[in-house]
């Protein structure tokens, strides 16, 4: 029971690393709190759902679609909302209010568009096209169904989402440390005013980071029908809360911290669900309070950020 909970926690935590990654990137670059993050995740989930329902698209292929689509949505959204926000005296506080409003609008529109009932995609259909393709290439069919790790059986969707999370983290790192825009992004993350003074097009860099942040949320949403039971327009709020707990735990603005925060959250959640199940949903809040009391800068934070 303990081994299963630990392994399940690691896989579940990897998924929440992916969920929190975009939120952390947006906060790290712009110092704004995107409370609509979970709602973009929800929209990503519906994107995968409709691609599957209407065209039979394997949700794995919905990942690049969602990434590009929501990345493109993020760019104009940045120019519409964020520069004015950053010009305000207290952008962090204002961002909470503004994105809370945006979250409500998105949820209401999604409810009108998609209805209130739960929707989902059959678990075995995640990666079906890949399995079939592999079977055609090698002549060896891969059966859908649970996957064994260290003698413990886990849903294949958990493994696929875990792998996708690791790839997403690696790509974000490659972007930040191996591309020119990434260097500029890190410069903006470090000191926005100095970056501006050195002639960096801060708005362009931030817009790209904002687009990537929202795109990552949407990619997290593609896996939501498999990791979160089902999807509804109202699921965004809970996802935002968990994402926020994960990034605060890891350390705000640090992608590696998000992975660590996700893993700590995942393992703690599964252990609490096994041994003290009634308390499981209090966990994000308890961890948040604990980390703010003991190490306010997060597990990987070097110093307390002065807001």
């Amino acid at each position: 029971m303990l081994t299963y909970s630990l392994l399940a926690g690691l896989l579940f935590g990897l998924y929440f690393s992916l969920v929190g990654l975009g939120l952390n990137l947006v906060f790290g670059v712009m110092r704004i709190v995107n409370l609509a993050h979970g709602d973009f995740l929800m929209l990503g989930a519906y994107c995968a759902f409709w691609l599957y329902t209407l065209f039979g698209v394997d949700p794995v292929f919905a990942i690049p679609v969602a990434f590009v689509l929501f990345g493109l949505v993020g760019l104009p959204l940045y120019y519409l909302l964020v520069p004015r926000l950053l010009a305000a005296r207290d952008p962090e506080m204002l961002s909470i209010i503004l994105f809370f409003g945006l979250s409500q609008v998105i949820e209401a529109l999604a409810t009108i568009a998609f209805g209130t009932s739960e929707q989902s995609i059959p678990g075995g259909d995640l990666g079906r096209a890949l399995r079939e393709g592999w079977g055609r290439l090698t002549g060896h069919e891969i059966e859908s169904g649970p996957v064994e790790i260290f003698g413990q059986s886990f849903p294949s969707a958990w493994i696929i989402s875990g792998v996708a999370s690791l790839i997403a983290v690696a790509l974000v790192y490659l972007y930040l440390y191996r591309t020119r825009t990434g260097y500029l992004t890190r410069a903006v993350m470090s000191r926005r005013d100095e970056a501006l003074a050195t002639g960096i097009d801060v708005n362009r860099v931030s817009a790209i980071a904002f687009g990537i942040g929202i795109a990552l949320a949407a990619v997290g949403g593609v896996f939501a029908p498999f990791m979160l039971g089902s999807i509804t327009p109202a699921m965004g709020v809970d996802s935002t809360v968990v994402s926020f707990a994960v990034i605060v735990m890891g350390s705000l603005g640090n992608p590696l911290g998000t992975v660590l925060g996700g893993l700590v959250y995942g393992v703690s959640y599964m252990l609490v669900q096994s041994y003290l199940s009634s308390w499981a949903n209090l966990l994000p809040y308890l961890l948040l309070i604990a980390i703010l009391l003991v190490r306010p800068s997060g597990l990987l934070g070097k110093r307390v950020r002065l807001a």
Partner: protein
């Protein structure tokens, strides 16, 4: 001559009385109601809301609902607010319905969680609460005469057929170990408590080897399913809301786990919703409640099940809200109210209570016989235990298993 005078006097007094009644009759009956268009309880709230609206629209198309005290039909005005599954919002809105909108009739939102906040507010304001589906045991007490449950059995007796089947038929089938998993809220928590008590009190040789509650918001059950499996139960009883059942059954299928026997609440209540999310295969051999959405009662008042289903499909063709037991619950609430209003001398709350309780045992709708205990709990519209089995053409068939007088088939146990 004497007879003529008497007739004239009678006519005059009738005319006078009629004019007095007509003068006193309100232009409309204000019915206050909450629904949840979003959030955790939307999928159980919206069908109730739609079912009730279908009834109200039908009545308004006929000129209103007849009120005995005014001897005429009075149009219905629905005053509805969206609580978005939030109990704090619901609390404010219930107060608003009573104090600001001054509704004549107060109807709670669907389900025990959103009804729980209405109960003390209605009691404090001496408003009689029409409770469509809030079955929590705590709502019905001797110190609260201001509530009646319309369309679901009260949670303390609802799981009796399940518990009785487990304790009476179970040992014959080799059921010795039972696991109970429930969502910790008034509805499913009460059902779990009642089932546990029935099984223990039966004296049957059955051990409860797993007994855990989880938050209602739980969306992933994989670890819990593994833990249940480790306890090696012969039968699993899962008490959760629709979203819980969907997640539980999907996680079971994804993890490749099959229990020998499994009971869940919602496959029988919101069958279309569960079929859509879990698939026919995922529901095979699952035991559940057989509700009036599957049983055809002969109604003496209101539409029959096929008529109601047709009316529903005609009115809500977009299928954004699934047809199920909760749709019937909403419509049944309207029927009980209609019958009560038809016998009320005034729109006074004590009169409403009297008239609703007067229907107990007499009113037969598509939801079965409406019967209340002395506390307002529903004890008439009971739901036998059933089981989904593969039927003709690959479709699922719901067999009734218990109690014996309702049974249409024997249980398939252990599941293949």
């Amino acid at each position: 001559m004497k007879r003529s005078v008497l007739a004239l006097a009678t006519l005059a007094s009738t005319a006078l009385a009629t004019s007095v009644f007509a003068a006193e009759a309100p232009a409309e009956i204000k019915i206050g109601h909450l629904y949840a268009s979003a959030g955790r309880f939307a999928s159980i709230s919206m069908p109730v809301d739609y079912g009730f609206k279908l009834w109200a629209d039908q009545k308004n198309a006929e000129g209103g609902v007849f009120v005995k005290g005014f001897n005429k039909k009075i149009p219905i005005k629905l005053v509805e607010y969206d609580d978005q599954s939030n109990t704090a919002t619901a609390q404010t809105l219930y107060n608003q319905l009573i104090t600001q909108d001054k509704v004549d009739v107060l109807i709670a939102d669907s389900g025990s969680v959103l009804t729980s906040v209405a109960v003390p507010i209605a009691r404090d304001n001496k408003m009689f609460l029409i409770d469509p589906t809030g079955t929590g045991a705590a709502f019905f007490s001797k110190d609260n005469p201001w509530i009646a449950l319309m369309a679901d059995p009260v949670s303390t007796i609802w799981p009796k057929p399940v518990a009785d089947w487990v304790s009476q038929e179970g040992p014959k089938l080799g059921i010795k170990k039972v696991a109970i998993l429930y969502a910790t809220n008034e509805f499913t928590g009460t059902q779990a408590n009642a089932a546990r008590k029935f099984i223990k009190d039966s004296g049957a040789p059955i051990d409860i080897v797993f007994d855990q509650g989880v938050p209602t918001e739980t969306t992933n059950y994989t670890v819990l399913i593994n833990n249940i499996k480790a306890s090696n139960p012969d039968m699993v009883l899962h008490f959760g809301y629709a979203a819980n059942d969907i997640a539980f059954l999907r996680n079971m299928a994804d993890a490749g786990v099959k229990f020998k026997g499994l009971f869940c609440i919602y496959p029988g209540i919101e069958t279309e919703l569960l079929e859509k999310n879990v698939g026919d295969k995922g529901l095979q051999y699952v035991m559940t409640y057989v509700t009036s959405a599957a049983l055809q009662y002969k109604p003496e008042f209101g539409m029959s099940l096929p008529e109601f289903r047709d009316a529903w499909k005609k009115k809500f063709p977009d299928n954004k809200v699934e047809f199920g037991f909760n749709s019937i619950a909403g419509y049944t609430t309207g029927l009980v109210l209609e019958k009560a209003l038809g016998e009320m001398a005034s729109l006074d709350q004590t009169e409403l209570r009297r008239a609703v309780f007067a229907q107990s045992g007499k009113l037969k709708t598509l939801d079965g016989t409406f019967a209340l205990d002395e506390l307002g709990g529903q004890i008439g519209e009971l739901t036998p235990l059933g089981q989904f089995v593969p039927g003709e053409g690959g479709h699922l068939k719901l067999n009734a298993l218990y109690p014996p007088d309702s049974a249409t088939a024997k249980a398939v146990y252990p599941r293949p």
